[in-house]
């Protein structure tokens, strides 16, 4: 029996990727990374800045996401996000620009702890991208 399931990543402008041969997806949910395999129970969660890893039979793909919602149901994983790019075609300028704007946001005084945490995390992830 196959252990494959479907993944749909959509952003508002278009369907980003749609595959039906993945066996594991790791998503950066707000409360920690979740690895999803076939026949996971239905789940709804949302994302924090991080990297989605999609393992399919032939290849492994990584995407950076800033936020979004994930839904897993009937062996289909739907990821709704407004900000996503493939790590392979990451734009150096865009990444460093994002780091700068996030750091600028961090230096403001009037942000709450949760936001500070998310921003810190975002900077961390983005920096790890720019190193690679």
């Amino acid at each position: 029996m196959s252990n494959l399931f479907n993944i749909d990543i959509v952003n508002p402008e278009q369907s980003f990727i749609s595959k039906d041969n993945v066996f594991e997806v790791v998503i950066p949910a707000v409360e920690g990374e979740i690895g999803i395999l076939k026949d996971h129970i239905p789940i709804i969660s949302f994302l924090k800045p991080g990297i989605i890893r999609v393992f399919s039979e032939s290849e492994e793909q990584s995407f950076y996401v800033e936020d979004g919602i994930v839904e897993f149901k009937d062996n289909t994983l739907s990821v709704l996000t407004s900000s996503i790019f493939d790590l392979k075609d990451a734009d150096k300028n865009f990444v460093s620009e994002s780091i700068r704007s996030a750091e600028a946001e961090l230096s403001k005084d009037n942000i709450d702890d949760q936001k500070r945490f998310l921003l810190n995390h975002k900077v961390e992830v983005l920096k790890s991208i720019s190193i690679n």
Binding site: P12, E13, Q14, P42, I43, I44, I69, S82
Partner: protein, 293 residues
């Protein structure tokens, strides 16, 4: 009776107008294809978003403490209307239709003694509404600079709405836009986005199990999701609108081209007739002159 010269001038002028409308039609047709494609590409996102929210709101048991964006403030005194129009004219009844729809809604609100606030998106809507409803318009947004419809613009509008909602500046929010049915038909739409109208929740799909696991809990997801949904709805409306605008322009320009063609035909007949009349007149003069010799 216009002179031959006048007629010739008119024919050339109508012909050049026809050239312009024809070119505009072609441009609109090309843009329409793209806009339509975009609208179709954008659909899965808003559909999925709707699905998730539907599933979530079903599993919410504590209606009292549910997020206000979902259930409303409990009052409906202040109405906020978002009127989405185009930035350009010459597209037939496109802008007028939205405005008409919005105006009838405004009248209803005013006659019920409720407070009305208007946000216009797109300069044409502002131009048409400012005469009559200037005092109600709280914001006027235009995305003339951005070439394509993008999510960030929609998000900007969404954020303005959320901000106003958090400051308790309105209770009910509705958006007005044209839904793209096909090239010839666009239907002006009125859609309530705050509180979320659950008009189709009574479907009998209770059979499938909605035992979702939520992480974190439902309330938190909902309060994170609902603001996004507003932006998504606006984005969807903007996409539909842009497809409708191009469709409407294409039809309008097609009609204009055809009308110009008819006008040219008529003028040409008139021109030929008066030319012939002049020739006949000259001939008669010559013949009668020769006879008298």
């Amino acid at each position: 009776m216009p002179s031959l010269d006048d007629l010739r001038k008119r024919i050339t002028s109508v012909k050049s107008t026809q050239k312009i409308t024809k070119a505009m039609k072609m441009v609109a047709a090309a843009k329409l294809r793209k806009a339509q494609e975009n609208a179709e590409k954008g659909r899965p996102y808003s559909e999925k978003m709707n699905n998730v929210i539907l599933n979530l709101s079903k599993s919410i048991t504590d209606k009292e403490n549910a997020p206000k964006l979902l259930v409303g403030t409990g009052e409906e005194k202040v109405h906020l209307c978002i009127v989405l129009t185009a930035d350009r004219g010459l597209c037939g009844g496109f802008n007028t239709n939205i405005i008409k729809k919005a105006k009838s809604y405004f009248e209803k609100i005013i006659s019920e003694n409720k407070t009305l606030k208007i946000i216009t998106v797109g300069s044409k809507g502002y131009d048409q509404l400012k005469r009559q409803y200037k005092s109600y318009i709280v914001e006027n947004i235009s995305f003339k600079e951005s070439k394509n419809i993008n999510y960030f613009d929609a998000d900007k509008v969404g954020k303005i709405i959320i901000e106003k909602f958090e400051k308790n500046e309105f209770d009910v929010c509705a958006i007005f836009y044209n839904k793209f049915k096909n090239v010839i038909t666009q239907i002006p739409q009125e859609q309530q986005i705050v509180p979320l109208n659950e008009n189709k929740d009574d479907k009998d799909d209770s059979g499938n199990d909605n035992d979702y696991e939520f992480e974190p809990d439902e309330d938190e997801i909902l309060s994170n999701l609902l603001p996004k949904n507003i932006s998504t709805q606006i984005f969807k409306a903007m996409l539909e609108n842009s497809a409708s605008e191009q469709g409407s322009r294409m039809t309008a320009m097609d009609n204009a081209t055809r009308n110009a063609g008819e006008l040219v035909d008529r003028l040409t007949i008139e021109y030929n007739r008066s030319r012939q009349a002049a020739i006949t007149k000259e001939l008669i003069e010559i013949i009668s002159g020769a006879e008298s010799l």
